[in-house]
Structures are given as C-alpha cells and as structure tokens.
C-alpha cells in the first residue's frame, strides 16, 4: 500500500536531499533516514526517504535470481 521508488542522492543540504529518479529531481526529507551520503540510493515515499537501498543486497538478490532462472 505504498508507492516507494528508489532514487539517487545528488545533493544534501541539512536534512533535505536532492534525489534523482530517472532524471527527475525531487527535494526529499531525510528526517526518517538521516545517515545518507551523496551517490547512495534511497527509497522515497511521499517526499521522504524511508530507507537506504542496500546495493550489495540488491546485487546478491539479482545474482540469485539469475542462477535460479538459468538452472532450469
């Protein structure tokens, strides 16, 4: 029940980050996810970053999925 889209942090000023979603820039509040650096990805919901996207986990999930698909 919740649209959440990953976006890349390109600028940070205090508790607001400029986040890039496919070239579309949005000011996103970091109040719920303050520990973010430029270049990292965050999950955005209604103008807030609600969690960091763990790139390593994403890669591992994809690798696993690829292996599962190939093994057939």
């Amino acid at each position: 029940m919740c649209l959440g889209i990953p976006g890349k942090v390109v600028e940070i000023e205090k508790n607001v980050a400029k986040v890039d979603v496919g070239g579309f820039l949005r000011d996103i509040s970091l109040d719920l996810c303050p520990d973010v650096s430029i270049g990292e990805y965050v999950l955005i919901h209604t103008g807030f970053a609600i969690q960091k996207v763990d790139e390593k986990e994403a890669e591992e999930t994809l690798d696993l999925l690829k292996k599962m698909a190939e093994a057939i």
Partner: protein, 336 residues
C-alpha cells in the same frame, strides 16, 4: 501598447478592438485572405473532399517548457486535419481574454502562433477577440477551427483497421502532459522535460507518399495512447495487441510516473501519432518515419487481431498480459 493590460473595451468592437487587430494580430498573421478584414474570409473552392475541425484550448499554465497555448492551438488543429489525410490550409482564431491580461504576453502568444503557422504552412484567415470580466475566464482561452482538402487516393478512418495490420507509434509518450504538470507543480529535472507540441502535417505527408494504403492515423492527445487505441478497436470491431517493451517512454517521464503513480499509456501527447498500416508495409513506413525529425524514435508497437474484438491487450514486460481499458475519470497522483 506594450506594458499595458487588456481592457473590456478591447473586445467591444470599437476603436480599441481595431487597435488590437492592427497592432498585434495583423503585423504577425497578415495574409491576402485575412487582410480585407471582412466579417468572413473568402476562400476559393476546390475539387475534392473538405475536412473541417475545431478545438478549444484551456491549458493551464499557458506557458510551459516547449510551447504555449498559442502553439498548442495551431498544432492541435493542424494535426486533427492531418490525421484524416487532409492538407491543412486555413485556420480561424478566436480568443476569449480575461480583463487585465498582459498585452506583452498576448503579443508573445500571437508570435508563437505566427511561428508555428509558418512552419506548418497554414494561414490564419479569420478571427475574433472577446474580453470578459476579471474572474470570468482563466487568463486566456483559444478556439481554432481549420479546413483542408483531403489528398486523393487516401482513406483514413478509425473504422478501417483490419486483422493482420500493424501499429506504429512516432515517439515517446507523455512528454506534453508531464511538461505541463511539472510547470504547474514546480517539478525540476536534470535536463528540462519539454512538451512535444509540434505540427505533424509534414511527417504525415511523407508517410502517405511512402504508403498510401495506411488505414488510419490518430494523435493520442487527452486520454493517451490507451484511449486512442480503444477508440479504434471499437470503431473497427477488431482486437489490438500492444507489446509493452516496444512502447517508448523517456526515463524522466517514467521517473515521475513511478513516483506519482501515473501510467504513461494514459498521458496526453501533442506531437505524436499512431498509424495503422497493412501487413508487410510496416518496416518501410518505420524507415520513413525515423527519417523525419518528428519520427526519430518511432517503433512498431503492435498489431490488429481477430480475437478479443473491441479490446486492447497489453503484453507486459515479463510475458504476462492485461487489458488496457479507456481512461475513466482522469488520473490523480497517488501514494498507494
């Protein structure tokens, strides 16, 4: 007249109305048919079928990246004529202006109209301006009507689609609606998202030269691609199948769509067309389209089928399928 505002008197037919015509409209839009400034324009009759269309423009905001309400008005009518295979020739231009509107802005809009009319090779031959009280209109409304003669040997209509036909789309979906929305809401982009507003008559001419047996052309404006395809499926009593992976959408449009929960297949376009052609002609037609600046990103996106008559089916990115219905009630951005 610069720096001034439109007054009620500018619409009353008296001296100020004449000043407006002489100082703003005539310098930019002059042509032999318009110049007499009679109550009606006199046009020489010709052989063949005449196409006739009208549209009103109420876009807000009136200026947006890639265009303004004036450009939109000319393109919209030029395109409606083109979609039926007519060569757009003459347009009427009616304005309803809110009292207090800036004359400088009006000049800018007339300038836009002039520029795109010239690009499209059409003339504005008759017009009207009315002024209403402050609050009775939202800045400016425009109505255009247009006529043009239909090329001989061409028969374009939504009832013509046949089983086996192929469907082509001239480029990226959603640019116009997103450009307007982003202007209204103050959205920002890495590189500016512009409306695709453009006159399609030259592209259409080249397409019909290459493939006179095109069955139907439509420009997916309000309601988007999905609504337009549903209209055709219904009118021709056929099924339509579209391949999602073939439909071009710019990344920035996808980005906002995903973020706001909107569907690009339902977004308005003002410089795109779909064409339905007989089988085996699609590759050649695609080449012709891609050769034209307004068709560089054209794709063959689907085909017409015997099954599922009056329905539009989308083959999804992952191999599933869903029914693409008409747009009902407009899209609101959502959080869920």
């Amino acid at each position: 007249m610069s720096g001034e505002k439109i007054l009620l008197a500018h619409g009353s037919g008296g001296k100020l109305s004449h000043d407006l015509i002489k100082q703003i409209f005539l310098p930019q839009l002059a042509n032999p048919i318009l110049e007499p400034l009679d109550d009606s324009a006199e046009i020489m009759n010709r052989e063949g079928h005449l196409a006739f269309t009208t549209d009103s423009y109420v876009v807000n905001p009136i200026f947006f990246p890639g265009g303004d309400i004036g450009k939109l008005a000319v393109c919209g009518t030029v395109n409606d004529l083109s979609m039926i295979g007519a060569t757009p020739s003459y347009l009427s231009l009616s304005l309803i202006v809110e009292e207090g509107f800036s004359i400088d802005l009006l000049k800018q809009i007339v300038s836009s109209i002039h520029e795109v009319a010239e690009q499209a090779g059409v003339n504005i031959v008759t017009g009207d301006t009315k002024v209403v009280e402050h609050g009775a209109a939202d800045q400016l409304f425009i109505n255009t009507a247009g006529i043009g003669w239909i090329r001989s040997g061409v028969n374009l209509s939504g009832v013509n689609a046949k089983t086996g036909d192929k469907i082509l789309l001239s480029g990226h979906l959603g640019d116009h609606e997103m450009a307007v929305l982003s202007q209204r809401e103050g959205f920002k982009f890495q590189s500016e998202l512009k409306s695709d507003c453009a006159p399609l008559n030259d592209l259409v001419r080249k397409m019909l030269n290459a493939c006179p047996s095109i069955r139907c052309m439509r420009d997916p404006t309000r309601g988007g691609l999905a609504t337009t395809l549903n209209e055709i499926a219904s009118m021709s009593n056929v099924g339509i199948v579209i391949e999602e992976e073939k439909v071009p959408v710019r990344e920035s449009v996808r980005g906002i769509s995903e973020l706001l929960g909107l569907d690009p297949l339902y977004l308005a376009n003002e410089g795109k067309l779909i064409a339905i052609c007989p089988p085996n002609e699609e590759e050649h037609l695609l080449d012709v389209m891609r050769d034209h600046p307004l068709g560089r990103d054209a794709e063959i996106i689907g085909k017409v089928t015997e099954e599922n008559r009056k329905r539009v089916i989308l083959h999804t990115l992952i191999g599933g399928h869903r029914i693409l219905d008409m747009l009902t009630g407009g899209q609101y951005p959502r959080i869920c």
